[in-house]
């Protein structure tokens, strides 16, 4: 790191982003517009999350980056390298050791603490967008808490699939006020959003930042007769035996053999290191 300002962005830009973050924390779930900067990576790579992380990191921080729960995907690796290079911060794969965690598509299984900040990469921040394309109208709907449309979406789900089929980006209401898109995390993760850590959400292309402060009420929308369920595959992890973690299904061979493994690779590894095992532990070892 030498040619760049700390964490790539100039100080004025970081101050502007921090103001948006603070506003977001003051009005939980409210989408704060911000002047998103060009980042040296494509939009699909989480430029919103990267900018929020850049404005949040200090030289003393330890950064973890996950993508679908894994630390070793191309996306996670390149974002981690980006900050190693531009900010020179320590990085880690261990959830407990990280002070800032940037994520796409998951919340870590390990319970986060008051000393941590979770930064989400958000593709589409507006939960009302799919039924109301007009930005002027969705803003008004948020302002006036006209959220009936969210339930129309859930109604459609039930009428078509017999149950609420929305499995990702399942809408929530924050502190009884704003309806918010939690980004494309599985709905299994929704209950975890009532947590001790600060949660920040950055959407680069759409130029929005929003936030959930620690210990804030986050309620998943539902119907009285179709209550929200934080569902997951009905299996235990085949490697670590965990029955409470979110699982990825992995196809093993052409014969249709498959296994279920924790999507949170750090969680699975730490469980195995602590002596836990699953159905396929030997073969996989």
């Amino acid at each position: 790191m030498s040619d760049y300002n700390f964490a790539y962005l100039d100080e004025q830009t970081k101050r502007m982003i921090r103001r948006a973050i603070l506003k977001g924390l003051a009005v939980p779930g409210y989408q704060v517009p911000f002047a998103s900067r060009e980042m040296p990576m494509p939009y699909g790579w989480g430029t919103g999350g990267v900018q929020v992380s850049a404005a949040t990191l200090t030289p003393d921080d330890t950064l973890k980056v996950i993508d679908q729960g894994a630390d070793d995907t191309t996306n996670a690796v390149s974002i981690r390298k980006f900050f190693e290079k531009t900010a020179g911060v320590e990085t880690t794969e261990e959830t407990e050791k990280a002070s800032v965690i940037q994520t796409r598509h998951r919340i870590p299984e390990a319970e986060l603490t008051e000393d941590q900040i979770l930064v989400y990469q958000v593709p589409i921040p507006e939960p009302l967008r799919f039924l109301e394309p007009r930005e002027t109208e969705t803003r008004k709907m948020h302002a006036l808490q006209e959220y009936g449309l969210m339930h129309v979406k859930l109604y459609e789900d039930i009428s078509q699939h017999g149950a609420i089929a929305t499995a990702y980006a399942y809408p929530v209401k924050v502190e009884g006020r704003y309806v918010m898109d939690p980004s494309p995390i599985p709905k299994f993760d929704n209950p975890k959003m009532e947590m001790a850590a600060i949660q920040l959400f950055g959407a680069g292309r759409e130029q929005r930042i929003y936030a959930v402060p620690p210990y804030t009420q986050v309620v998943s929308l539902d119907f009285e007769d179709y209550p929200f369920e934080a569902s997951k595959a009905e299996h235990a992890c085949d490697l670590c035996g965990s029955e409470h973690s979110y699982l990825d299904e992995v196809i093993l061979d052409d014969a249709g053999n498959r296994m279920f493994v924790c999507s949170d690779t750090d969680y699975c590894r730490s469980r195995r290191e602590a002596g836990h095992s699953g159905r396929l532990s030997e073969e996989a070892a």
């Binding site: 039924l131 009936g148 339930h151 009428s159 078509q160 119907f223």
Partner: protein, 256 residues
């Protein structure tokens, strides 16, 4: 008795052009008011000014609200007005696609207003949607179909069901039978007449079709160039028109 709606000197301009002007009338509960006139006479402008879609430049539109009695809806706050639009008011557009969500099923379209006012029981929402499909003569088996698969007449009936499901106290309709085939129009008119009687609806119906007002309206306002030129009981105005323009309007219909 307090009028449900008191319209006082409403005017709406488009720059220097008159949309409508000097319009005043009272509408009592259970009354249906027809507004007729040729194309461009200001009917839609007036209706939209009354329903809060356009802001009138002058005048008052006083609605007898459930909680606070008569309130001028022009000066009430936007949240209050929008709340009124999804509860006590309903608006039936000429083109069903302006009043429906085309990407949402028939049941979802009817259920939207229920959910907007806080209904959170899927089973009861669906039951009421099914009931309303029946009331507008659409087979319950179509409840999960999108309106894009419906004929024009069905779409219009669906739009009516979607509007009436919350039991509004005042319904605005802009050419509800316009653009439909004559036989389809007749069926829709029959249906509307039945609903108006059964529910004791108060309504303001804009149309250029005198047959529509003869069937539905208790009272009639005739508009020309943005002004009301004649106003009275429907039968009186149609059978004994006083204004030369109304006479022309009535006779042209009788010649058909």
């Amino acid at each position: 008795m307090t009028p449900l709606l008191q319209v006082k000197n409403v005017a709406k301009m488009y720059g220097a052009r008159i949309g409508c002007t000097d319009v005043s009338f009272d509408l009592y509960p259970g009354e249906v008011m027809g507004i007729v006139g040729e194309s461009g006479s200001g009917k839609s402008t007036l209706l939209n000014s009354l329903a809060g879609h356009l802001t009138p430049d002058r005048g008052e539109v006083i609605f007898d609200t459930r909680t606070e009695g008569p309130v001028d809806t022009v000066t009430m706050s936007e949240p209050e007005r929008r709340m009124l639009s999804r509860t006590d008011w309903a608006f039936v557009h000429q083109h069903a696609r302006d009043g429906l969500r085309m990407s949402v099923s028939a049941g979802g379209n009817i259920g939207e207003r229920l959910m907007a006012v806080g209904d959170r029981h899927y089973g009861s929402i669906r039951e009421r949607a099914a009931d309303w499909l029946g009331r507008v003569e659409i087979s319950e088996s179509r409840i999960d179909d999108r309106p894009s698969a419906f004929s024009g007449g069905m779409q219009q009936r669906l739009q009516i069901a979607r509007n009436l499901v919350t039991g509004p106290r005042l319904v605005f309709m802009d050419e509800p039978t316009g653009g439909l085939d004559v036989s389809v129009q007749a069926r829709l008119l029959d249906l509307l007449r039945g609903l108006v009687r059964e529910m004791g609806l108060s309504a303001i119906i804009v149309t250029h079709d005198l047959a529509v007002v003869r069937l539905l309206a208790d009272r009639l306002m005739v508009m020309k160039d943005g002004h009301v030129v004649e106003n009275g009981l429907t039968d009186q105005v149609l059978d004994d028109p006083q204004h030369a323009y109304t006479q022309l309007l009535v006779s042209s219909v009788l010649q058909v």
